[in-house]
């Protein structure tokens, strides 16, 4: 399916065909990572600005590497060190950046809807690299690419997403994307971390880890933010870890032997994942990270690559 969108904002907006186009394009770009000279000229002369309003190492680095391997000029703009401390609004900052003619702005912001807001205000392409608790589409895409490589298909798969669903943009993007591709999704966690209307998104809900992970093909563990305890959502990290942390013992006792363990990172070792699980053969956490670069190359290429140069990327 041809890609015609100006922006990548939310998995909820996409057709299944568009999702597969992104995944397929990413798959075709994966081999660049294994080349001696990791550079193709697809986005030569294009400018990509990483506009990050939240601290992020892996996502920002991943976008930066993706842009550079495609020969684009990549500029990192970290908001805390810049004009926001001088009182400039988010939209003003973005408009100032746009005045310097970038082709793509990659935005990460703690406010839900921030990427949509920029897409409305700016003419250049916008990539949502995570907006509040709303969406994180490139994370869902790299998760899909990882799953497809291991499981070969999507239709009929069962996935459990475990942890703080309420505050997770990763969960929302994956729920929308997976539902569109015929995957059955169960969300699980203490009820205080599961939004009350999540069932309306077409997922099942489980309140016990053992029940959630039984018979699923993929277990996606989410990071627990320590501030959830201060907010009164869980009594203690210790208790959370005891009931919702995935240990090797629970895994082997309740899950299928071919289950995949995923995590969007960074992992709280010993909280949501025991170290043995994180480093086990079940874990595909590092595959996710390397596929992240391929996915971001695909996104940048589809948004900023000129339509006529589609063949060049393999050159």
């Amino acid at each position: 399916m041809a890609w015609t969108r100006k922006d990548l904002l939310a998995m909820r907006d996409l057709e299944p065909g568009e999702i597969l186009t992104l995944v397929d394009t990413a798959a075709s770009l994966e081999e660049i990572a294994s080349r001696d000279i990791k550079k193709v000229p697809a986005l030569r002369g294009k400018t990509i600005v990483n506009l990050f309003y939240e601290p992020s190492t892996r996502t920002r680095t991943s976008f930066e590497i993706a842009g550079k391997w495609l020969s684009a000029d990549v500029i990192n703009f970290t908001a805390s060190a810049s004009s926001t401390t001088k009182g400039e609004t988010f939209v003003d900052t973005a408009k100032n950046i746009e005045a310097m003619s970038p082709d793509v702005v990659v935005v990460r912001h703690s406010a839900s809807g921030a990427a949509e807001l920029l897409a409305r205000e700016l003419d250049c392409s916008i990539v949502n690299a995570g907006d509040g608790a709303h969406e994180h589409p490139t994370q869902a895409l790299l998760d899909l690419l990882t799953i497809r490589e291991k499981k070969r298909h999507f239709e009929g798969l069962q996935v459990a997403i475990v942890g703080d669903i309420t505050h997770s943009r990763v969960a929302r993007s994956n729920i929308h994307a997976m539902r569109k591709l015929g995957v059955t999704v169960t969300v699980a966690g203490p009820p205080t971390l599961i939004p009350p209307f999540i069932g309306e998104l077409g997922v099942k809900v489980a309140y016990r880890l053992e029940e959630a992970i039984r018979d699923v093909d993929v277990i996606m563990m989410l990071r627990l933010q320590h501030e959830r305890m201060a907010a009164g959502l869980i009594p203690s990290v210790r208790e959370y870890s005891r009931y919702w942390g995935l240990s090797l013992d629970k895994l082997q006792k309740h899950a299928r032997p071919d289950v995949l363990i995923m995590h969007p990172g960074p992992v709280n070792r010993g909280v949501e994942l025991s170290p043995e699980v994180a480093d086990s053969h079940y874990s595909v956490i590092l595959d996710q990270v390397s596929k992240g670069v391929a996915v971001r190359m695909a996104v940048l290429f589809l948004l900023a690559g000129s339509r006529s140069s589609e063949g060049q990327v393999r050159a």
């Binding site: 988010f90 839900s112 921030a114 807001l117 943009r169 929302r172 939004p195 209307f197 309306e200 998104l201």
Partner: protein
């Protein structure tokens, strides 16, 4: 033709010296006196002198030809934020009262969350002084229940009433301390001014930028559950029962609140309520566009809630419509949704959107809507307004039910533009606003700022306060009508 010229002269301030005005050939709806007939209205020296079929216009009288129009008592909005003093960049008494007049309102009650807060007589005096020199409709201040809206100590409530406050509210914030709120209700019993509740349990709503529901779950925006309102409505009803006070519940937004208020009224408690046009007409789905103009507190809820509110408005559970007109500068209402300010302007859109979306499709009788904008709000706050019977102030709102217009925020008289109704095409709206016998606004047109003729006379009618202290004691209070 003659009429139009006369009106234009008035808007230029030339007709203000003459004291006689006749509204002819219109259809009068005055719910307070049960008039629903082709009547003329004669106003002499700012007071309704006569009402009846084919009144003779005295010599020199200004004649307004209201053929084909609906003539009502001046509309009253008991819940607006005029922002002065302190936030004049959002709104002033001058611009806010012009917005009111353009929207068909002849009287407004302004909330206390100014800067400084209207929690003492000097601020009330200031607001009334500004209203006298700058305002073009009647302005009745609401005093703060607690000092600086902090919810910790009572304001000087008696002196606020004496200075002219017609109600008490910490609107914008709930008073979380039930013990303190109880004392406020008891202390103000003799003053004939109700406690107006912003019903929100702050512990339940914390961080919520919209309704907690399907849409907040999808968008990843923190939600405030309907229960945050319902619980406080329930608490305030219980306190009204304990104290015998008149508690008025501002901006109801949930089906649960409507149910609680209906039950309280059935039990004879002195509980009244209002609803805002946006809560009657819009749902949480409006937030899907991420437009900060869909953000207000309480938030837009669900279709089930809007239906319950309409039912409550129709059957009288909800006593009146009030806009919660909350102007904010553009910079506060653009950008990230969860960082934008709460609230929207409403004075210039309320009548038009309610006529178009509720009255025109037959969901609410016109007579009921007029009652909820005139006699009912006047009764709640003991204002000597809301009727066209002889002897009442000459405030008139004339509606044109056939006028089509597209709502254009750029043309608002308010200093702010934060509305979710921009671009709506509506049929029906205010046609003319008359205050104290003077035409203040006509077809959205306006007297220029500071035009003398557009300024209503300085002596505003005072509220009908009940006779002296002690007459509204706890025992007797419950049987009083409101």
């Amino acid at each position: 033709m003659t009429t139009m010229r006369v009106v234009k002269d008035l808007m230029l301030g030339l007709g203000a010296r003459g004291g006689t005005l006749v509204v002819k050939n219109g259809h009068v709806i005055d719910p307070a006196s049960a008039v629903d007939a082709a009547h003329d209205v004669l106003i002499v020296d700012g007071v309704v002198r006569d009402i009846g079929p084919r009144l003779a216009a005295p010599e020199q009288a200004t004649v307004v030809d209201a053929t084909g129009k609906i003539v009502c008592p001046g509309f009253i909005d008991i819940h607006v934020h005029l922002r002065e003093p302190g936030f004049e960049y959002k709104e002033t008494i001058a611009t806010g009262t012009r917005a009111a007049a353009a929207g068909g309102f002849t009287a407004v009650c302004c909330m206390a969350n100014t800067h400084p807060v209207n929690d003492n007589r000097s601020i009330t005096d200031y607001i009334l002084a500004r209203a006298k020199t700058e305002g073009v409709v009647r302005v009745y201040p609401i005093g703060a229940v607690t000092r600086n809206l902090k919810g910790e100590e009572l304001s000087e409530l008696a002196e606020l009433a004496e200075a002219g406050c017609v109600g008490y509210s910490d609107d914008g914030k709930p008073v979380m301390n039930a013990g303190l709120y109880r004392r406020a209700m008891e202390y103000t019993l003799p003053f004939g001014a109700p406690i107006i509740s912003h019903a929100e349990d702050a512990h339940l709503s914390t961080g919520g930028a919209m309704n907690e529901g399907v849409v907040s779950t999808e968008l990843g925006i923190a939600g405030a559950p309907a229960a945050a309102e319902d619980i406080m409505v329930a608490r305030d009803i219980v306190l009204a029962e304990l104290t015998g006070a008149h508690v008025h519940l501002a901006h109801l937004s949930t089906a649960g609140s409507v149910r609680l208020v209906r039950d309280a009224k059935a039990r004879g408690l002195r509980v009244t309520a209002e609803a805002a046009p946006h809560h009657l007409l819009l749902t949480e789905d409006a937030v899907r566009t991420w437009d900060p103009n869909a953000k207000m507190n309480p938030p837009l809820r669900t279709k089930r809630d809007t239906e319950a509110l309409l039912e409550g408005l129709a059957d009288g559970t909800i006593d009146c419509v009030a806009t919660d007109h909350a102007p904010h500068a553009l910079s506060e209402k653009e950008g990230e949704f969860d960082r934008a300010a709460f609230g929207i302007v409403g004075l210039e859109t309320a009548v038009a959107v309610l006529l178009d979306r509720l009255v025109r499709p037959g969901r609410l009788p016109l007579k009921t809507l007029v009652a909820r904008l005139t006699a009912d709000p006047a009764r709640l706050l003991n204002l000597p307004l809301g009727s066209l019977v002889p002897g009442r102030p000459g405030d008139v709102t004339i509606l044109d039910l056939h006028r089509e217009l597209t709502i254009d925020p750029a043309r608002f008289h308010s200093r702010s533009r934060n509305t979710p109704f921009g671009g709506w095409t509506v049929t029906g709206g205010p046609w003319m606003t008359i205050v104290n016998g003077h035409v203040i606004s006509s077809e959205g047109g306006f007297a220029p700022l500071r035009t003398k003729g557009a300024t209503p006379p300085s002596e505003l009618p005072r509220p009908n306060l009940p006779p002296g202290q002690g007459s509204a004691g706890k025992a007797g209070a419950r049987t009083e009508s409101m």
